[in-house]
Amino acid sequence: MRRFTDFHPIVTFLYYAGAVALFAALLHPVFLVAGLIIVLAIHFFYDRCRGLQRWFFLMLTTGLFIFILNPVFNERGRHVLFMLGDHRVTLEAAVYGGMSALSIIGVIAVFVSYNEVMTPNKLLFLFAKLLPRFAVLLMLTLRFIPLMRKRLEEIGDVQVSKGLSVHEGTLKERARNGMNYIQVLLTFSLEEAIQTAESMKARGYGEGVRSSYEHFVFKRPDFAAALYLLLLLAVLVYGRIQGFGWLAISPVMETFSFPQNEAVLLIIHCLFIGFPLIVETGEYIRWRILN
């Protein structure tokens, strides 16, 4: 059974980059709402929206902030909804604020899904092809982060026995102790770093070309998926250049109509954003039939 998470990192990255770009570029209420519903469905399918809950507060406050800020500072527009003192609250500003809020919420929701599917090793795989030394640097840093955490705990245990704690005392004391922890960690780790470097050198790092085990292989389904995504993206870019898929607000808000061309573009938009759902349901059906 081939899940969405099993695709080659290039395909996964292409999907997420495209989805973020679509949420940012297609500012049209219908497109945004449709896209957001699909992304929420993907989250529901993946883990019953559990991963999304941690970000819910951020998404809500950012969205609300942007939704309110637009009409407060933007008086332009012909359709005045109501007056607040001598401040005009216009329909245009409210619509734009709403669309921006949906766009930001959509982008964050896509990123939450990205964090679940695009694990660090997939991103490192992409970097390693393009920027090998940077990938090694990133890999070393990622490995050092948990190590440093452990060392900080050890240092903390020793320092507490000397009466230096970061949890007690005045603000000044806590800050000073915290920085002393970092100072100890720095000296400790720098000496250790030389050993790591010597060990890498001894194993021949930097001596000519290295071969490596490739965990990800670009197979035929990956090719088909990449082609599918690229084709849809091309049509969407063409449609956007032709002026479909976004609501013009300035200088004059266009009357809200939904021509046939726009409906076609909406379907393509949904087919792109919904790609993980299509893959998963397709596999689900096939799995059922095969059994």
Partner: protein, 230 residues
């Protein structure tokens, strides 16, 4: 290899120039254009880093400092607004130069977000922290940087500048599509983050004044002892 390097650099510089020209008459797409300029800038520095001759020890050193910069937040969890990441990056730039400063800043941002969760803010964070390291490295021989108080002023400036750079990605939601972005809205939007930026600045100053000399001494001693990144 050398030809490759020159070609990559020229290509990226041309891309930036092209983006700037386009932005002059298609200002409404500024979010896309500014992202393009930033990406080209980061890639330019990464390509430079990639093609330079480098000791393994220098690579590991940068990784250690970047890891400390991102882990350094933990002991300060009980003090709001305080995080020594910016401080560590400034000190690295001062001791090891512009390129090391940029790499520590960029990698610390990317790696810590790999642990905490990536978002639309990741590239901006990489650029902001990378720039802090880069500028610190470029200014390290100036007279005001030799002075404790000069460094403190520098820390204050970056506390606010960092916040401004981080605010940029949210700007398009205030009127990207049509040219409806007003100065009032920009001021209000940036004002909303001012309190947080002030905390950041205060933390930078305190760290630079109280621990700056000590850290610079530790790193410089290490640099001389092993002859790294000189």
């Amino acid at each position: 290899m050398l030809r490759n390097k020159v070609a990559a650099s020229t290509l990226l510089i041309m891309a930036v120039i092209l983006l700037l020209i386009v932005s002059a008459w298609r200002a409404e797409h500024y979010i896309l254009l500014s992202f393009g300029v930033m990406a080209a800038g980061i890639l330019f520095l990464l390509a430079r880093f990639e093609n330079r001759k480098m000791e393994v020890g220098e690579l590991v050193l940068i990784a250690v400092i970047a890891a400390i910069a991102s882990v350094g937040r933990i002991p300060f969890a009980s003090i709001p607004g305080a995080q020594p990441t910016t401080f560590v990056i400034i000190v690295t730039g001062l001791v090891f130069g512009a390129e090391a400063g940029f790499m520590v800043g960029g990698v610390a941002a990317l790696a810590s977000n790999m642990v905490l969760g990536q978002g639309p803010w990741t590239p901006w964070q990489m650029a902001a922290w990378g720039l802090i390291g880069l500028v610190s490295g470029l200014l390290r021989n100036r007279s005001f940087m030799q002075n404790k108080w000069g460094r403190a002023v520098y820390g204050i400036i970056w506390g606010f500048l960092f916040g401004f750079i981080m605010n940029l990605w949210g700007l398009f939601s205030l009127g990207g599509g049509g040219n409806t972005l007003t100065m009032d809205a920009v001021v209000a939007y940036f004002g909303a983050s001012l309190l947080f930026d002030t905390f950041h600045s205060i933390a930078n100053v305190v760290f630079l004044l109280v621990f700056g000399d000590q850290f610079i001494k530790t790193l410089s001693r290490f640099k001389r002892k092993y002859g790294l990144l000189e």
